[in-house]
Symmetry: C2
Subunit: 416 residues, 2 copies
């Protein structure tokens, strides 16, 4: 089934806002096996909206339009749709009543401007919008079905997944099922992953693989399709476990999970606590770990020991070590990890020191030289990395690698 | 002059990659007064590319296509363009030679696949690409001009600004100039800004204003147009200073500057240093400040005192204060700021404590309650904030407000 997506809004054609709705819809739809042919963006211009609607009928079976359903005069999608599809606009009294009630509940009188949102092309069916004032609607025209949704991303996402996709699934003639799973990989490049998965016979699993770079991660999206859901689930499970085997420990999460969530689960289930001493990452590790609600259960403290004095004061890094080995060195990373662990009395202490650039590099220690250390009840380990990229990239890679060390520690694959 | 943008790639129609190229081009073009009518995205499908090219001729004077110029078999934009515009593909020997040399310089033999990148529609003019292997090209057809650019964002940006826009400027019949400036505002909502600027007579300056929410900032984009560049520059200057007056101190940066850059300049020019004690922001302040190259000149250290023990240990917050006033309180924020300043011997010490949620709120101190304190040679100030939003938003608002305190301190408007 072919679907075309049209997004409407002057803020999009002027580039003031990056259109994330089109990509979201394309992702959701293609993940379920719909073929998205064209994505079109037009401004709030009656003539252009009509033209896009006319064009879209040429190849798509279903057309999804978002944006331009608001109360202000520049929102003209409903009117343009009515014109393009040869209907007149009619007032929907129930919608008007519901709108009035919505405002009354917030103790406000409905502005006259909002009345407009209760007018729809004749024969349109309403898609109620629990999250905003603009309901969506759909109508059929010459064997095609047209959906109109509000452009507010939160509302659009809700209506697309709760209403539009179930409706499209019903319309669809081919009853093929699709299942997807995203495996999130860190520590292998895209081509290294492809090399390791090359020998898998994807046809055997009726599967396709997509490689999605999500810096600094690489995601592998598995999609299996078939007519029996049970069979699909088994195929997906089998293929996932085969891929996991081939990528030995490099898959840190699936689907919507993040690395810091996984690390949080591991700390919690191991009744462990963590403290962090950062130099080149400048607080990014602490920031990422504490984004997770409830992280205070296991994250005790972080120190951004940017100056040598701070390294000495807080982590008790010996002065002579800073002079002899240098602030960017394995022994200093180890002392940072041990120092922050000792003062905070946590199970684990993480230490990171390096040269993020652009300045500060030398022949011996070029930009991107980073030392990571983890102090634990089993002792302290450290490792030198040579990361590639600019300041931002070195910081991101360092933080990601350091957080991943905690995961690998609990899985006993830190040395692997 | 009307411009249409076409982006090509299966990764876009499947939603695997969010299309930032289209938005970038729309922004650059509309900022210079070109009217962007349609933005279309199609997959790497010959029929769809041809169709999009055919459609585009209906309203645009210039059409810019990006993507599908790579060496792999799925890159078929050049072939499809030749077909749609009625040309045959011909080998450009100079491009082939340049490609071979490019590979030779890296000590590699050119893969056969790359030969494809030297074939162009007959009569196409080459746009050399110093950043990659795929050159762009343009050709004229029935009074329209078609540009074809590679989809790699870095290459696209370069070719668009260096080649395409200068060419379009020459083609353009109306010789109107445009100047833009983005004023970055923090601390006023969009409607509060609009209220304050309502009385400005924009016609007097031949200007338009666009309000661009960039959470947690609000940007005001000024665009002035006219036929004399000198006159325009004066109008832009006058209008900017009028707006600055009306938004008294809330404009923290212009165009590409960031808040942390501005704060870095102020610290440096005042020969001042900074240390930070964070609780609810969890390292975000330190992370943002240290993103700036050279920040080690003024950023001495940061401490993420997440636990009460850490607040006592590192910032010497008295135990009884944590019991009586609570960890989220003005006196604790002040002690954090003073403590981190004292131990690090910096000019300024910043302290932030609050309830980011989702848990931890109470009737007296709901989620979003945040205390910010700044310790300086002039003493310590603190203030209570009630931020609105989820965990992520509260953290972002807290960090932004705290960093802005440093700017406001140096401008002597902290109390304003």
């Amino acid at each position: 089934m072919k679907v075309e997506i049209i997004t409407v809004g002057n803020e999009l054609t002027t580039g003031e806002v990056i259109d994330t709705n089109a990509g979201f819809m394309a992702d959701e739809l293609s993940g379920r096996g719909f073929e998205v042919t064209f994505l079109t963006t037009v401004g709030d211009n009656e003539w252009h909206i009509e033209d896009a609607l006319q064009r879209s009928q040429e190849h798509a079976d279903a057309i999804i339009v978002s944006g331009g359903l608001g109360p202000t005069p520049d929102d003209i999608t409903a009117r343009s749709a009515a014109k393009a599809l040869g209907h007149r606009l009619v007032l929907n009294k129930e919608v008007l009543q519901a709108l009035r009630e919505r405002f009354a509940q917030s103790g406000m009188e409905m502005p006259v401007a909002n009345e407009k949102q209760a007018f729809f092309p004749h024969q349109a069916e309403i898609i109620p919008n629990p999250l905003g004032t603009a309901p969506g609607f759909f109508l059929r025209h010459k064997g095609k079905v047209f959906f109109f949704l509000p452009g507010v991303p939160r509302e659009l996402k809700h209506l697309l997944t709760e209403n539009v996709i179930p409706l499209l699934e019903k319309e669809r003639k081919d009853k093929t099922f699709f299942l997807c799973r995203v495996l999130k990989v860190f520590g292998f490049t895209e081509s290294a992953i492809a090399d390791r998965l090359r020998e898998i016979d994807l046809q055997e699993y009726a599967a396709t693989l997509a490689y999605l770079p999500r810096y600094p991660e690489n995601h592998v999206k598995i999609r299996v399709s078939g007519s029996s859901l049970d069979d699909l689930q088994k195929k997906l499970r089998d293929l996932e476990s085969l891929i996991r085997q081939k990528l030995a420990g490099r898959i840190f999460a699936t689907d919507y999970e993040t690395l810091e969530e996984i690390v949080g689960h591991l700390l919690r289930s191991n009744k462990a606590t963590l403290s962090v001493a950062e130099s080149c990452t400048g607080g990014l590790i602490a920031h990422r770990l504490t984004r997770i609600p409830g992280s205070s259960d296991y994250f005790e403290r972080g120190v951004v020991v940017y100056s040598n004095q701070a390294k000495k004061d807080i982590c008790q890094v010996p002065e002579d070590l800073l002079t002899t080995a240098g602030a960017v060195s394995a022994p200093v990373a180890e002392k940072m990890a041990e120092g922050v662990r000792r003062i905070s009395q946590t199970t684990l202490g993480l230490g990171v020191t390096g040269i993020a650039g652009p300045a500060g590099g030398s022949e011996e220690k070029p930009v991107g030289t980073v030392f990571i250390a983890l102090a634990s009840p089993e002792g302290t380990r450290s490792k030198k990395y040579q990361f590639w990229g600019d300041r931002e990239q070195v910081r991101i890679l360092s933080a990601h690698t350091a957080i991943d060390w905690v995961r690998r520690f609990f899985l006993n694959i830190l040395g692997a």
